[in-house]
Symmetry: C2
């Protein structure tokens, strides 16, 4: 098993960051514009290349969110996306992990860098009101 | 053991990317301006917060570079930084890994995101001639 981990600090109250990872309007403003929800599942789509279904397994406003990937690329299915938020002075610290990859395949390398790019988009959204969601996200390689 | 992994694609010949990770002038232009070499070791410094000594264990112009961390933060010592370069059409694909962390501590989360930021600085340097090395690197949190 292999995990992707990241840490950013957002200059904003914890509640604002919590909202950015739990409401479809905010998720659409930093990850992908095509974000919907259906029952307990978030549906993230990226045009022709597909997307991810994430079942919300935990959403605690104290700062804990967990999604289980129920559909998407084969390598993602069954993996877990975890968010831990902690307020420290003027920062909300975001500890992010995408856990349970069966193998550290090249696609995982790509997703790790891409998560960093989207987390910085989240930071920008909360701090400035303007994120950079797909399809206008920063292209990092031939895999976009 | 835990590893950081990343993937970027640089629109440039492999030789240009190889040079960017093997010459002190180029390393200073995307990672930290205070980069020197001494015998077989690269010395990266970040002002008051310290830095890293990396012994070059492998440097193969075909696209394989490996550094062993011999001095720096306790969590880094003994870890390995690996670079694999592959030319694919107009891209040089960079598969990066920082391997052998004893525990996935919060500092590792930070370093993972920070590596992504610096890899994008490397990409910019090679593609445009202008990177964003420390101390002018993008600040991602209270830990810089």
């Amino acid at each position: 098993m292999a995990d992707i981990v990241h840490r950013i600090g957002v200059i904003a109250p914890l509640d604002d960051v919590y909202r950015a990872i739990t409401t479809t309007d905010d998720l659409a403003a930093w990850w992908t514009r095509d974000t919907k929800s259906q029952d307990d599942t978030l549906l993230f789509r990226f045009g022709d290349v597909g997307g991810f279904d994430m079942q919300v397994k935990e959403a605690d406003p104290a700062g804990r969110v967990r999604w289980l990937v129920t559909d998407g690329p084969e390598e993602w299915i069954g993996t877990d996306v975890n968010w831990r938020l902690e307020q420290r002075d003027q920062y909300t610290i975001v500890l992010f992990s995408h856990e349970g990859w069966r193998e550290p395949v090249e696609f995982m390398y790509h997703c790790s860098t891409k998560w960093a790019v989207f987390l910085l988009s989240l930071k920008e959204l909360v701090e400035t009101g303007q994120g950079r969601p797909a399809p206008d996200d920063l292209q990092i390689s031939d895999w976009h």
